[in-house]
Amino acid sequence: MSERRIRVLIAKPGLDGHDRGAKVVARALRDAGMEVIYTGLRQTPEMIAESALQEDVDVIGLSILSGAHMALVPRVFDLLKQNKQENVKVFVGGIIPDEDVSKLLEMGVVGVYGPGTLTDDIVKDIEQKVRSRSKTN
């Protein structure tokens, strides 16, 4: 019997200590039947990429409330590319100014979830994006 579950890495890069949102999202994804690897605070992009590789995740969720997203997110993408993990979907949650949202999406982020996003919407979005990936694989 084989079983395929969506594996998600939830990480908080950068120096802010507000992990409430990350935990709420982790819990919501768990309740949707996903296996969520939670790595905790103050992760460097290198640590995140390394964890994503070892854990062979389908999705990475980055929670950023420090304003450093335009520095951190491209770095994560570079490292994923170096590790040949371009197929991993990346989403971002936290405080992201509107003008940056479209920039992040252009970079390849699959979704940006700000305050007030319903966790149900996040779950549906991730399920759909991962499914579209397995079709192309």
């Binding site: 079983e3 309740d31 039947g33 996903m34 296996e35 939670y38 070892q54 854990e55 062979d56 590790n83």
Partner: protein, 350 residues
């Protein structure tokens, strides 16, 4: 290049993908494990179990760090060993989802390419490990990790699967979790090769130690009556030391589970714990216990695979409607459960 060839070459992405196949028990994963099997059997498998919150992950973090540090003592010829870590956390019985949070305590190991950490969810298995943990460990073993630390889910009293998988089992306790009646119950304490009292800076550590020590005296009475207590703290019994105090290990030796106190968050006691682990390794090697445990482990793996395969074959040999008919006659009390089994299995012999 095939997945297994890349794994044997040390490709970490290939290893990660293989582990996913193994964890999901896919045909590819099973085939790869068969190809890798000749390369397994070299690693020292160390199990770490104990109640939730006793500090298992923090201890694993410290132990891995210790194994990875070049011995400062230059006389030691020991090369640093590569460390694999498999950390199991529970799956929700309702949704099947899981939060795997052991990496939170293992951030010191980030950036070390000699360490590979894999988290896994228990996926309904009740013995403290997942069904496929053994396969994950085999893959890491074949990939050349010399030490593999296996952390169970927070275990209560009866989650003892780890003792069958690991060569050396650490049971982690913390002060204040139970009195001496807990210490004499059957189950998890019995499987300990080394007992660790973590959080040893907390109040109540003396009474925890006393309870565990008296439990051990009941379990290993002879050695405790006749042998010197002081040396028992070091695991090996003193009858087997020569005049200069060096240990001579013989096949007649008994291993008395030693107790070690640690404060994992600060790294206190970790050196002592690591030295007990290598003593236990030496003990296993020299007494023939290593082979005995390997055989027992392979036997239990073989048996569970046999069961699994037989059940699968049986399922494919019988039509669901036939099963339903038998179930209905059982429900009407026309036949007994044993007779139902006979009827259902009769199709298989053909």
């Amino acid at each position: 290049m095939s997945l297994t060839a890349s794994v044997l070459e040390g490709n970490r992405l290939a290893l990660a993908r293989l582990l996913t196949q193994v964890e999901n028990n896919t045909p590819e994963g099973r085939e790869a494990l068969s190809e890798l099997f000749p390369y397994t059997g070299k690693a020292h498998l160390i199990g770490v179990t104990g109640a939730p919150g006793t500090g298992k992950s923090s201890l694993v973090n410290q132990l891995a760090r210790f194994f990875r540090q070049q011995e400062e003592d230059t006389q030691s010829t020991d090369l640093t060993r590569r460390v694999g870590i498999v950390a199991v956390d529970p799956s929700s019985p309702f949704t099947g989802g899981a939060i795997l949070g052991d990496r939170v305590r293992m951030r010191d190991l980030a950036g070390d390419s000699g360490v590979f950490i894999r988290s896994m969810a228990s996926r309904g298995s009740l013995g403290g490990l997942a069904h496929t943990t053994g396969g994950i460990v085999q893959a890491l073993d074949a990939a050349g990790f010399e030490v593999i630390l296996i952390e169970t889910v927070g275990a209560g009293q009866a989650e003892v699967d780890i003792a069958r998988l690991a060569h050396t089992t650490l049971v982690v306790e913390a002060p204040g979790l139970g009195d001496d009646i807990q210490a004499i119950k059957a189950g998890i304490l019995e499987i300990a090769d080394i007992l660790v009292i973590n959080k040893a800076d907390r109040p109540g550590v003396e009474s925890t130690e006393r309870a565990l020590r008296s439990m051990l005296q009941l379990a290993y009475p002879v050695s405790h009556i006749f042998l010197n207590h002081e040396k028992l703290h070091h695991g090996l019994n003193p009858e087997f030391t020569n005049q200069s105090g060096e240990t001579i290990i013989t096949d007649k030796m008994i291993w008395n589970p030693p107790i070690v106190k640690t404060i994992a968050t600060e790294g206190n006691g970790v050196r002592d714990l690591a030295s007990l682990i290598s003593q236990h390794y030496e003990f296993l090697q020299k007494t023939g216990e290593w082979e005995r445990r390997e055989l027992a482990r392979l036997q239990s793996e073989l048996n569970s695979l046999l069961q699994e395969t037989l059940v699968d074959r049986w399922k494919s040999s019988i039509a669901p409607e036939e099963y339903e008919l038998v179930l209905q006659s059982l429900f009407r009390h026309d036949i007994s459960p044993w007779q139902a089994v006979e009827v259902l299995l009769s199709g298989m012999k053909k």
